[in-house]
Symmetry: none
Subunit: 149 residues, 2 copies
DNA sequence: CTCGTCGTGGGGAAAAGTGGGGAATATGGG
DNA sequence: CCCATATTCCCCACTTTTCCCCACGACGAG
C-alpha cells in the first residue's frame, strides 16, 4: 500500500511535462510498473494513482450498477478524464491538455502526497481553497476525529 | 477483462468511419479478433463492445425470461440495433447510418472509455447530458461511494 | 573537489489520425 | 438474364501529434 506525503512546488514545461518528486518516487510500488493514471479529482485538482492503486479504484467502480443513472454519470465522469501515462527516462509524466485546463494549471504546480494518491494543483487555486475553508484545522480535527471512534 | 478509459474527440469522415483511439485499442483483448458490436446505448449514445465483452452481455440477456413482456421489449431493442463491425487496416469502424442517426452524430464524435464498453456520442449532446445532471460530481461521488461500503 | 542524483529543456524518429481513389460486391430495373 | 447504378471494402498517401532519447545546470553527499 502506497503512503505518499509531502508538498512540492514544481514547474510544467512547454510540453505539459511534470517531474515526479524523488521522495514520491521512492514510495511507488514496483508493481506500478512506472505507469500512473491521472484523472479529475475532487475540487479543482488532479488525482494521480500508481497503476496498482488505480486497480483498486477501478475494482470499486466495477461494483456499481450499469442500470442506475447516477452511477452511470459518476463512472462516465471518473473515467472520461482518466488517462494512463508512463514515466519517461527522466521520471516525468506528461499531462494531457484537457486535464491541465480543467485544473487551471499553467506553468507551476503544487504536488501533494495524500496516502494512496498524489494530487496536482495550481498553487494559487490551492491557496484559495485553503482560505475558503469555513472552519479551522483545529475545529475540523475535532469533529473528524470524534466521528471515527 | 477490458478496462477502457479516456475521452477522445475524433471526426467522422464522409463514409461514416471513425478511428478507434490507439489507447483504447491497446486495451482490447486479442480474443476480440478485431470485431466489435455496436448497439444503442443508454442515453442518446452508442455502446461499442469488443466481441469478447459482447459475449458476456449476450449471456446475461439469455438469462431473461421470454415470457415476460418487459424482458421481450428490452431484448428486442438491444438486439435490433446491434451490428457487428470489423476494424479496417487503419483501425477504423464504419458505423451504420441508422445508428448514426439515432445518436444524432454528424461530423464529430466524442469517444468515451467506460470499463468494458466504449461509448460514442455527439459532443454537443454529451455536453447537454452533463449540464443537465442534477448533482455535481463531488456530491454524487459522496453518495455513490458511501452506498458501497 | 568530484561524482551522482535531480529538475529542466529541446530535437528527431515513429506512430497516430485523416482523407480519398479504385476494385469488388450488391441492388434494382429493363 | 444482363446491365447500370449504388454501396462496401481495401489500399495508399499525407499531416500532425506523440514519444523517446540526449543534453545541460544545480545541488548535495562523500
Amino acid at each position: 500500500m502506497s503512503s505518499f506525503k509531502g508538498r512540492y512546488e514544481y514547474s510544467v514545461d512547454s510540453k505539459g511535462r511534470v517531474a515526479l518528486p524523488a521522495k514520491v518516487r521512492k514510495n511507488v510500488s514496483p508493481a506500478a510498473n512506472d505507469t500512473f493514471i491521472i484523472t479529475r479529482g475532487f475540487e479543482q485538482c488532479l488525482f494521480v494513482y500508481p497503476q496498482d492503486e488505480w486497480n483498486k479504484v477501478e475494482e470499486s467502480v466495477r461494483g456499481l450498477s450499469p442500470s442506475n443513472p447516477q452511477h452511470r454519470f459518476f463512472v462516465r465522469t471518473l473515467l472520461q478524464w482518466a488517462t494512463d501515462v508512463q514515466l519517461d527516462g527522466q521520471s516525468r509524466v506528461s499531462i494531457p491538455q484537457d486535464l491541465l485546463k480543467f485544473a487551471g494549471i499553467e506553468n507551476e504546480v503544487l504536488i501533494l502526497g495524500v496516502l494512496e494518491r498524489i494530487e496536482i494543483w495550481n498553487p494559487k487555486i490551492y491557496e484559495q481553497y485553503m482560505n475558503n475553508q469555513p472552519a479551522t484545522y483545529e475545529t475540523v480535527a475535532e469533529s473528524v476525529l470524534k466521528q471515527q471512534q
